[in-house]
Every structure is written in structure tokens, then in C-alpha cells.
Amino acid sequence: MTLTLKDQLDLTAIRKQFHVLDQSVNGNPLIYFDNAATTQKPLAVISEISRYYTEDNANIHRGIHTLAERATAAYENTRKSIAQFINANESEEIIFTKGTTDSINLVAHSLGGSLLKPGDEVLISCMEHHSNIVPWQLICEKTKAVLKIIPINDQGELIFEEFLNLLSDRTKIVSMVHISNTLGTINPVKEVIAAAHKWGAKVLIDGAQATPHNKIDVKSLNCDFYAFSGHKMYGPTGVGVLYGKRSLLEAIPPYQGGGEMIKEVSFTQTTYNEIPFKFEAGTPNIAGVTGLNKAIEFVQSIGLDQISHHENKLLLRATTQLSEIEGFQPMGTASEKASVISFNVEGVHPFDLGVLLDAKGIAIRTGHHCTQPLMDRFIVEGTARASFAIYNTFEEVDQFVSVLSSLIKKLR
């Protein structure tokens, strides 16, 4: 597939790779706008998982037989692909995890647990997903460190001045979302990282929503850690990535103990394996990892520039049309924004919209989107959220807005 950055994206060809989209839900053609929760998987990913179990299934690494070699190669090739995908220095800096949540917990436990002392501070923003709040609350409680929150403005943007004011020599860790799953805000993480580093703080970026939409270059960002999930970027569920700088990964203790992560074990002393294996205790999700490789190939075959170009057009069209609806209240109007629209409609509960849209075959998400403190910031119980992916069409956006408008009339 050869595509340039123009409006001639072959959506028909792309959609053919997603059989799940070709179905009726409740008597209507499915419109899937819940991509920020999870994307659908192209045939190549599904086929690879099936192929792996059909042809190569074996436990990886120490096996000396052919299947173990093949499985290990498939697994380790993905590590190399991911290192290239996010421009890491080396594949050893790529740790496979269960997902973004698991990656953040690893950093909170291993870095936070070894670094934080009473009175030290961890900074997160007001727009974090619960998975980038609770692990820090847990480790702060354990170490007596203090969790501080960087405020945001009414557009849903980080107040950078406030962030700078919060930084001090007590700041040991900054953990921030790259793209907000609720607001769509794209945070200026490069500037955040540079500012935090001036104070000697380590920085983790939650890239769960960023990797499907934007080119990530961890070297250029100079982040210490970068976490993301496979399933939000057309890959399988249950597999995620933690990128970490070699020096840090070598310095911090393991997260979990078990097979694979050790060098020598005795009842008196255990020594740990080298990175990345030090952080990969137990048999990993091998099929998921090999599937993730195909997801990366899929993304690269289209190109992240092309993907974000298309999604931005969907976002613009949807935002323009939704703004025409009386009482439309968008939440998150940042100048730098990814393809997520969170909104409320005056006089209508988002839950009702979600239920009735589902009856029309349209899948959106309603509720607090695992960002309850953000809901408190905007003084709302929840929102309706539509989020777009490469396979979504303008016709789907038009249909969504049309159905939504008629439902609102009925509900008012």
C-alpha cells in the first residue's frame, strides 16, 4: 500500500482488513467509535496469533529444539521492531508487559520503591488515567513521598507555568500522559521532560493513546520511560511495552520474581538476569507479542503521518457538526488535540446517549473514562466519548451526528 499525505486514502482496502467492522449490530451497520478504549485488529494480527499457535508454539528462550527457536525468534524480532518503531537505542531497552497499566506499575514499584524517600515528590497531571494515579498513590503511601498534581486550564491543557512552579529539588519523578484518553489533549511532553530533567527528576510518559496516532521518538523526547499498550494500536490485548533507558533499567530492582528473570538461584542468594529479561518474569504472552509485530507492520504500512492526517479530518468534521447541536458541551478543546471528542449535551445524560446509540449500532463510550479526578475538575459526572481510528469514515461521522441529533430531540 503506497499512500501520500493527501485525501486519497484507500479506506475500502483498509476496512477489508477489519472483518469485525463488516457486521450489523442491532439491525444497523456497526459504527465503531470506541477506539480510545481499544482498536479493532486487522486480519494480519489475528492470522499471526493463529499461525503462531498452529506452527511455532513453544516456550521461549532456554529451549534447544526447533519450535523453541522459532518462537524465540518471533518474540525477539518484535522487540527489535518496537525498538525501531519508537527509535530506542537498542532492543534491550524494550520490556514486554501486560499493558500500559502494568508498565506504569513496574516503574512505580521498581523506580519509585528504590528512589523515593519521605518528603520526596512525584508529579502527575490532573488529566491522568487512573492507571497513572493509583500506582503512584500506592508507592507514595509506602515511601511517605508526596503526590502533587499539575493543574490544567478550562481547555484541558496543562498549565505549564504551574508545572514549572511545582518542580523543585524534592521532585524525583514526573509521570504524565502523552495524549489524554478523555480530552484528546496532546501534552508538550518534550518540554515537560526537559524541565523535569533540570531538577534531576526521572520522567515516565504514558503513551497508551499516543502510539496509535503519532510518531514516537524516545531518543528525541529524551524520556526515561515510555509506556504503551498493544491493543490500542491495532494489536492484541494483554501485551504492552515499557521502554526504559538502559542505565535506569539496569539500576532499578526487578518488579516480579520468577523464572526467566534470574541468572542463578539458590536458597541463600539469587542473582538477576540482564535487561530486558530481568523484568520479564514467567512465560510471557508470546502469541500476543508476535501479533503486536504485525500491528506495527500494519501501522507502518499506512504511516503514522497518514493515520493522524485522516483522523484529524474525522475529528474536525465531527467537531464542526456536533458544535451545531444546541446545548453541545465539549470537554477538552486544546489547541493540540488527537481524535477524541468528549462531550455532554445539556439536558441529556451521556449514559442514555450511549444506550440509545448502541441500539442504532453505534459504539461510543460513556462514563468517567477512568479519569474521575478530571471529571471532578470539570464538575461533571461523566461524558460521552467518540474516538476515531484509521478505518473510520466521514460517512460514519455524518451518520453518528445525524442519529445523535435525532436522539437528543427525542430525549429532551
Binding site: G27, H349, F351, D352, V355, L356, D358, T366, E381, L411
Partner: protein
């Protein structure tokens, strides 16, 4: 009309909708509209049923040895759901409410058309109504 008869009535009504999701939800919304107004003073946190994405207020009072339920919700779909329970259980003796099996949700395929999360919320409503009945029953026996 007994709890059982009221359940059979609901089963019959939803049977006419032939499992159509949109029609079932629209019907639920209509039923919710018919729910008696909820006393404004009772819209307090103490009467909120936990476990729902939406808010449900529910309280009971005893009149002539019958339990009268009052309910409301901030979403029209959930208001329809709780209205079904009020219709089935309100106006009966506490002991009857405690002893009767609530089987109509399964019979009308509610899990299929309201989803598992809303089913959990619905179960929480039933549990709360039975707890009200239990409290009234204990009070009556003293």
C-alpha cells in the same frame, strides 16, 4: 395483583416487542415517564443505590402494612428499569417482597438488551428493595 402476576404482565408486554432492542428501550423510557414524582427532599445521597453508572434514588415507606417504593434516576433508561421493579414490588407486604423470586428480568432477556454492567446495577436495585422490605418486616415483628 400479586408480585407473580405483575411479573407475568411485564413478560407478556416485552414479549410483544419480540426482543427488538430499540423498541424495548423506548418502551422502558415510556414506563419511566409514568413513574410517580419522587419527593424532592428525598433526593439525597442516603437513598442512592450503589453499583450503577447512572444515579438511582430509592426509598420505601410503609402504608397500611404495605411497602410503598419511590424511585427516580438521572437517566431515562435507568428510570425505566427501576420503574419495572417499583411496578412489581410496590404495594405488597414486606414478607411477600422478601419471599418472592424476581424472575422477570431473565424471562424478558434483560441481560441481553441492557448489558452486564446495567444488569449489575439492576441487581443492586433489587437487593436494596429487599433490604428495605427486610427492615420493615423486622420493625413490624417487634
Amino acid at each position: 395483583m400479586s408480585i407473580k402476576v405483575r411479573q407475568e404482565e411485564i413478560i407478556e408486554e416485552f414479549g410483544l416487542l419480540d426482543g427488538d432492542l430499540e423498541m424495548s428501550i423506548n418502551y422502558l423510557i415510556e414506563l419511566g415517564d409514568q413513574l410517580a414524582p419522587f419527593p424532592v427532599n428525598n433526593k439525597i445521597d442516603d437513598f442512592i443505590v450503589k453499583g450503577c453508572q447512572s444515579k438511582v434514588w430509592l426509598f420505601a415507606q410503609e402504608e397500611d402494612q404495605r411497602v410503598i417504593f419511590h424511585a427516580d434516576s438521572n437517566t431515562v433508561v435507568t428510570k425505566g428499569l427501576v420503574s419495572l421493579l417499583v411496578r412489581v414490588l410496590s404495594g405488597h407486604r414486606a414478607e411477600e417482597i422478601l419471599n418472592e423470586d424476581i424472575y422477570f428480568p431473565d424471562k424478558i432477556g434483560m441481560g441481553r438488551f441492557i448489558g452486564s454492567q446495567r444488569s449489575n446495577g439492576f441487581s443492586a436495585m433489587i437487593k436494596q428493595m429487599k433490604l428495605y422490605a427486610l427492615a420493615i418486616n423486622i420493625k413490624d415483628k417487634k
